[in-house]
């Protein structure tokens, strides 16, 4: 924003793109999660091959004030490996479903990464000095013949090329029968939750050999199963509150102080179905694919197949705002069901909190006023809650001139197609943007296409 209070619209410009150029996408390179750390200096991606790649923002060059620092590869490591479940004779995918950063407490960085079954705590640390001058060892590590040692010296630290090491510090395994879809770190920074299709477990970051089950919706008779958990998140401020969403479009807010097993919700958020939009696919498109609290925790945002909804935690019977992401797909649901696109899980995210705005509007308004989410054809959408304006942008290598403002895109639903509009039938449904992230403090966004990561920033004057 330029100026306080979100006056002008942000003008987004291409900044960088990471990943292979060819159209032939290797399955392992498909990006499955994107997450900025708490300072925004680090940007992590997880892929289908079980790897985590962390990018680090360059320190801002004071002479080049027209652009913020670029993101360059900082560390790459194999987080998860494919496993085999011998009991069921099935593979356990190594795909990274979610990454969540811990707030930084010391020189090292910590993140949680999870696949379908196992969560791992990784420590990423830098090493830029090493000790030299051992008495008993040569520089290459071989032991010296003791008889050749005639003097003693104190080893000293000498600078070396920066080395970034990632090491797994905790492995939280064997707690989930079903596929993990969410992890969320509590505001106490000591515990976190992991949610699979039917259960939510509470962990302590230090303890790996046990977890507490806090939600269990598995019916006694699996034949009666009609609803699964799709996402879960801790409240940003209240360490005993969390929410979880379901495949039936409901969100339940639970308080861990109420009982050990939070099967009875404290609040149930559900919007009654609009009878005029009823179809065979009503249930499927109501399934919530992502839920995110706003910065203050007063609101939460949910993403279902066609829309983004903002809920006020004080009002359970309907959302306060609804934004249509790609309503033109409503008439194509049968085809989208057939080709499985209707099951795509789009995520959503809030804007970061602007430092200037933060001070001025701390008491009066929620800092979360823009929402971003992805769509097909490598389009992604942003909705401004204050101005009620929305924009569609495209992540494509054709727009890769830095500092050139991205051109808004428009999809023509029916009728005469205007120039520069793209018709619904021309949309490429294999090019989907499921994962997006917004820098926590600045107007920098990371948008993941199938196997590329795009970084856009606002045009600084």
């Amino acid at each position: 924003f330029s100026g306080a209070g979100g006056g002008n619209d942000i003008q987004w410009c291409f900044s960088q793109v990471k990943g292979a150029v060819d159209d032939d996408v290797a399955e392992a390179d498909i990006i499955s999660t994107v997450e900025f750390n708490h300072s925004g200096e680090l940007l992590a991606t997880g892929d289908k091959g079980g790897r985590v790649v962390i990018f680090q923002q360059e320190q801002e060059n004071k002479t080049q004030s027209h652009s913020r620092g670029e993101y360059n590869v900082y560390s790459t490591f194999q987080s998860h490996e494919p496993e085999f479940d011998y009991l069921k004779s099935l593979e356990i995918e190594e795909k990274i479903n979610k990454i969540r950063w811990l707030p930084q407490k010391n020189a090292a960085q910590f993140l949680l990464s999870t696949n379908d079954k196992t969560i791992k705590l990784w420590k990423i640390s830098e090493r830029d000095k090493r000790p030299e001058g051992y008495n008993l060892k040569e520089e290459d590590g071989r032991y010296r013949d003791p008889t050749t040692v005639t003097t003693l010296r104190v080893p000293v630290f000498r600078p070396m090329d920066l080395m970034v090491e990632a090491s797994p510090r905790r492995i939280f395994a064997n707690a989930h029968t079903y596929h993990i879809n969410s992890i969320s770190i509590n505001s106490d920074y000591e515990t976190y939750l992991s949610a699979d299709d039917l259960r939510i477990n509470l962990w302590h970051l230090e303890i790996t050999d046990r977890s507490f089950n806090i939600v269990d919706i598995k019916p006694a008779n699996m034949e009666e199963l009609t609803e699964v958990i799709t996402a879960a998140e801790f409240h940003p401020n209240s360490c005993s509150t969390f929410v979880y969403s379901s495949s039936k479009g409901t969100i339940r807010l639970c308080d861990m102080r109420a009982s050990a097993l939070c099967d009875r919700h404290s609040k149930l958020f559900e919007e009654p179905e609009d009878p005029s939009n009823r179809s065979f696919f009503s249930e499927i498109i109501s399934s919530i694919s992502d839920v995110k609290f706003s910065h203050s925790g007063r609101y939460m945002m949910t993403r279902d197949y066609l829309s983004v909804k903002i809920w006020d935690l004080n009002m359970e019977n309907r959302p306060v705002e609804t934004y249509q992401v790609h309503e033109y797909l409503r008439s194509k649901l049968c085809s989208l069901y057939e080709n499985d696109c209707i099951f795509d899980k789009f995520e959503c995210c809030w804007n970061g909190s602007d430092r200037q705005v933060e001070f001025l509007s701390l008491c009066t308004s929620d800092l979360s006023n823009i929402v971003m989410t992805g769509s097909y054809n490598n389009f992604f959408r942003m909705f401004d809650r204050n101005t009620k304006r929305d924009i569609t942008l495209e992540a494509s290598r054709e727009n890769n001139k830095p500092r050139t403002v991205l051109k808004p895109r428009k999809v023509c639903a029916s009728g005469k197609r205007k120039k520069d509009e793209i018709s619904v039938d021309s949309l490429d449904f294999n090019k989907k943007i499921l994962h997006t992230a917004w820098h926590p403090k600045e107007n920098i966004i990371a948008v993941a296409t199938t196997n590329n990561l795009y970084i856009f920033q606002d045009k600084m004057n």
């Binding site: 479940d85 069921k88 004779s89 099935l90 593979e91 356990i92 995918e93 379908d116 079903y178 596929h179 299709d197 039917l198 699996m222 034949e223 199963l225 009609t226 609803e227 699964v228 799709t230 495949s247 009878p275 005029s276 009823r278 179809s279 065979f280 249930e283 499927i284 399934s287 409503r330 008439s331 194509k332 649901l333 049968c334 085809s335 069901y337 057939e338 080709n339 499985d340 696109c341 099951f343 005469k416 619904v424 039938d425 021309s426 949309l427 490429d428 449904f429």
Partner: protein
């Protein structure tokens, strides 16, 4: 700009099928509603039973598809009980025969030759009335080819026939030893099915015979499916079946759980993980080319032939 002439047929079809509210009570759009419902039902079944990933299928997806099928089945049951003289453009009230036909053609021989005309008869209305979803809308992104819908209606490849016959005769012998299971619900569903069809009478005669075995086979077929976990083992509309333990208790049906008919259509050519692995173990001594367990592979018919011989022989 399209005049009113333009794509009218498609458009009307389109309007009736997608998005807009089509109440089941409307006259002319009732047919398209039924058509859409049938299409969605078939698609849902194919998704559940033809998809054999090497990893566990998504529980969320399975649950949503199951809910869809249940809802449609509920509707059909209600319609079946309320309007027995309902003239269907398709054959909505017989999901089980669709099941039977699509999910395990390996057992289609179970009902002796008299069932074959039924097979054809039951598929004919499907072919004539049902338009594959890819053609229902004027869109280009429908990735599943029309052949997917035609798949089940194709006769099994000739190369398999002789093998199946010997197998079928073996099973027929076993069948003769056991009474064909029926249930009250099963009979009711059948009569609803029969009533709802304006079919030639021979199909009515043969269906009751063929269906019990098929349902039994099918329900038992569900049980050993790995990774389909509990939910697809009994998906609601199969719970009224009785399991014939005598018939199938000792036979490991997971080996037979593949679909040679749709193997040509590409997407459905992956086999159930257990059967693939087990087959590979049996194949290993016979096969000249090394195959790794987790590799999806397309089997050509000669290999399939060979496997069938091995299985039947052992």
């Amino acid at each position: 700009m399209l005049g009113k002439g333009g794509k009218r047929k498609f458009d009307e079809h389109e309007d009736g099928l997608e998005g807009k509210v089509v109440s089941p009570t409307d006259g002319p759009s009732k047919v398209s509603y039924t058509l859409q419902r049938q299409t969605i039902f078939n698609i849902s079944l194919m998704k559940l039973y033809n998809h054999r990933p090497l990893t566990e299928p998504s529980l969320q997806k399975t649950v949503l598809i199951n809910n869809m099928l249940r809802r449609i089945q509920e509707e059909l049951k209600q319609e079946g009980s309320l309007r027995p003289m309902f003239v269907a453009a398709s054959q909505p009230a017989d999901p089980l025969s669709d099941n039977f036909r699509e999910a395990q053609p390996a057992f289609s021989h179970l009902a002796s030759p008299p069932l074959l005309p039924t097979d054809l008869v039951s598929t004919m209305p499907l072919e004539s009335c049902l338009t594959p979803a890819s053609l229902l809308e004027d869109d280009t992104f429908c990735t599943s080819p029309a052949v997917q819908h035609d798949g089940p209606t194709k006769p099994p490849p000739p190369a398999l026939q002789p093998v199946k016959d010997s197998f079928s005769s073996a099973l027929d012998e076993i069948e003769e030893l056991c009474p064909a299971p029926t249930s009250a619900e099963g009979v009711a569903a059948e009569s609803a099915a029969d009533d709802s069809k304006g079919q030639p009478s021979e199909s009515n005669i043969h269906k009751p015979e063929g269906l019990p075995e098929s349902r039994t086979a099918e329900s038992k077929l569900m049980d050993p499916l790995p990774g389909n976990f509990e939910i697809t083992a009994s998906t609601g509309f199969l719970t009224d079946l009785t399991l014939d333990d005598i018939l199938f208790a000792d036979i490991d049906t997971s080996m037979y759980d593949f679909d040679p008919c749709t193997s040509a259509t590409g997407a459905a050519s992956k086999m159930a993980p257990v059967s693939a692995d087990e087959l590979l173990k049996t194949l290993a001594p016979y096969s000249s080319q090394p195959v790794t367990p987790n590799q999806p592979f397309k089997m050509d018919l000669t290999e399939l032939d060979h496997i069938m011989e091995v299985l039947v022989g052992s």
